[in-house]
Symmetry: C2
């Protein structure tokens, strides 16, 4: 049986695995996490609107009953093209006949000093949880020490005015509202600052100007300050410096400045990368030098196809889903001795939400839906795509509850609950990492 | 205004705070976590039946709109009785006129070598999450390396045959069932071992013999092996040694051997402790030497009261709830210049679940309900007590879903997602702890 290894269980990897289910191939999905992360909703987790588990779905629960798809929990650290094996950290190599590289992307820092060290990216579930804990801790801090307001403890800077930046800023405003209104925090809401910084003169470049203006107006009305046409020059633990020399005292910088592909992916594979690190692929999504290997989603410079020759697709979930399916189909074609076909992106439009009852959806025709209707479309679409029926219900419960009352919500800080040394739990002898118990506090 | 500090937001602390709401006192609840943990369901989290957030509820969401109750996120490290202040780690001391000590308990290891180092307790949300990650990792390991079955990778030992031990063992059997049936794990279910060890000759000593026999029979039918009348002599990373010299190769030992109070609590307070470390209190629950201080719940040797003179209460949620309320009422009595009253425990019975459709509920009259009816009673009672309407719905969703299909469930491993050094996030400069990104794996 033809063996296919899919590296990565994001949108692209899962889409490929689904397309290969019940086909005459043997599929192994490898991921360093045992769950798929629904990345478009990570900003909701980071601002305590959703639980981490709402956006995570065990890969095994998806393919547990699909005989030709198995899951392997492991970290891939290279590919041996001659032996046709994928090497795993601390484990035996996995043989393959075809391979799909769906390794995703990482935050892009443009070499800005301090950006990588002192800002919060929002690309993994861990990122979201770490940011949430940090935000909730800042609120507790300001509650106990109101004088810290001058130190930027209640100033939240979001770098990047794309969809993620807009979504985080809008959700942050809601978190601050509910903290004062329902959680008994005593800070003055009017003194809290949320600032979106972007080098361009407008928000949401993938959208039409009118949609971007609507987003900007909505954010401003919801107390978000916009610093457009400003580049971040430097980030320190206590401030952000802009290119006009101004300094914003803050302890929280969310990095939504774009994504890139870790440069070592391509070099580790002996493959070609484009300027932004993405793997260069042929029209059928195979690597030029390794025709049995396909690269898809955020990791690849996916060509748009015949509708827009020479153009590559943006790093979006839809591209990952479509390119994953395409790569899977080409593998089946090759197994059957048929020629492979070029990829063609089917643009279904873009969406971004600014918060309660405010979102924009732009269709390829140029039509834009916004406001409550846009928000409801956004909500519906995300629930449809949110993998797993159970997650849909609990997300709906979380959202409805928040929308109706906000009295509850997953605003728990779990960071202080982490084991002292998670590495040990990961790789060493299996001794449980014990929590240091504090004398006079509840265990 | 009379200032009351409540140390701990467990069942006892919250019950006390609720009883003081709208009373002529100013209440501060201090906890090192910003959430209440519904401890009776931790075993469900540890066996991937519930999400961590299902059993955690933000304290601020409970008292956010109660004007005289505020929450303080902090770790108490002592009490200055002369200054009447509670000292906090890295923070200014909190003054009080009355104080309620609701600091809970910790696992009791009876000085057994290796027990503290190599077993998993189940007392905090972190404990539950760490155990869940460990269990799921063992399953992944055995899936990739079936030969490890001889090394005890698929042997799970539960020390303690009380309610917690029985519940964990039953839930573990269900986790193993679903792993094979729905998650595509390839191990032979019949080769997996769950072993409950207890020094006594029967399970569930708080229950009647007939109820305990029912539990034992049910567990055995569900593939759980019972080693009763056997003491654990030693625990190592790879085995458990019993008092008859037999060794059980295992990498997973769940410690449900009982709870105690950290001995340093009493000494740190300059207070009296009984044999098991619990704070000795008067009939009205005040400390003998500090009448403005009350100790409640697991942390205190709560007297049963006039129905059973000289007897102290077991460490149960009901005792914590009732003693918390009582202490609060005595503080109000003192503020009003009235005398304090002795505590009297109202025993409402005990429950334990063995798994799906099998639980026992024993009433003070001696009546026992068991089987499906017992299980439904258990389910209903826990949903009623589970704080917060939202949590009730999501728990219900998780449970119904699991009961109906088990196809989904929060079986995600999050441990590998932990920041490299959580301590920094806790106390140091606020730089986000970045994840080491692995080259070829999805970010």
């Amino acid at each position: 049986m033809h063996r296919v290894v899919i590296v990565g269980a994001g949108f692209g990897g899962l889409s490929a695995a689904r397309a290969l289910a019940k086909k005459p191939v043997e599929v192994t999905v490898v991921d360093q996490r045992n769950f798929h992360t629904f990345q478009p909703l990570l900003y909701e987790v980071s601002t305590a609107g959703l639980d981490p588990a709402d956006v995570a779905y065990p890969v095994r629960a998806i393919f547990g009953r699909t005989p030709n798809v198995t899951f392997r929990y492991g970290t891939v650290d290279g590919v041996d093209w001659d032996a046709r094996t994928v090497s795993l950290e601390d484990d035996d190599p996995l043989p393959f006949d075809s391979i799909i590289l769906a390794t995703g992307a990482v935050a892009k820092y443009f070499g800005i000093p301090g950006a990588q060290e002192f800002t919060f990216p929002l690309y993994t579930l861990a990122d979201a949880r770490i940011l949430r804990d940090h935000l909730l801790r800042r609120l507790e801090e300001i509650d106990a020490h109101p004088e810290l307001i001058n130190d930027g403890t209640l100033t939240f800077v979001v770098v990047g005015g794309g969809p993620t930046g807009v979504e985080v800023a809008g959700a942050l405003a809601e978190l601050l509202d509910v903290s004062v209104r329902h959680d008994g925090f005593k800070f003055d809401r009017a003194q809290a600052k949320i600032i979106v910084v972007d080098g361009l003169n407008r928000l949401l470049t993938p959208f039409k100007v009118s949609a971007a203006t609507y987003a900007a107006d909505t954010l401003r009305r919801r107390t978000v300050e916009l610093q457009l046409g400003r580049m971040v020059k430097r980030v320190t633990p206590t401030c952000v410096e802009l290119d006009d020399g101004s300094q914003i005292p803050t302890r929280t910088v969310v990095w939504a400045g774009g994504v890139t592909v870790d440069g070592t992916v391509a070099s580790g594979l002996g493959a070609l990368a484009d300027r932004s690190g993405r793997l260069v692929v042929r029209a059928d999504l195979a690597l030029p030098d390794h025709h049995q290997a396909y690269a898809i989603g955020d990791a690849a410079a996916v060509p748009w196809g015949e509708d827009r020759p020479g153009v590559t697709c943006p790093q979006l979930a839809q591209v990952a889903i479509q390119s994953g399916k395409h790569a899977a189909e080409q593998i089946v074609n090759r197994v059957k001795g048929k020629p492979t076909l070029p990829f063609r992106y089917n643009d279904k439009g873009t969406m971004a939400t600014i918060g309660r009852r405010a979102a924009i959806a732009q269709f390829p025709s140029g039509m834009v839906i916004r406001g409550t209707l846009g928000w409801l479309s956004w909500l519906g679409l995300h629930l449809i795509y949110l993998i797993g029926f159970r997650n849909k219900i609990t997300v709906l419960v979380n959202w409805s509850w928040r929308y109706l009352s906000w009295t509850s919500g997953p605003r728990i800080i779990v960071g202080d609950e982490l084991p002292a040394n998670p590495e040990e739990e990961d790789h060493g002898v299996d001794q449980p990492a014990h929590q240091p118990e504090t004398v006079d506090s509840p265990a």
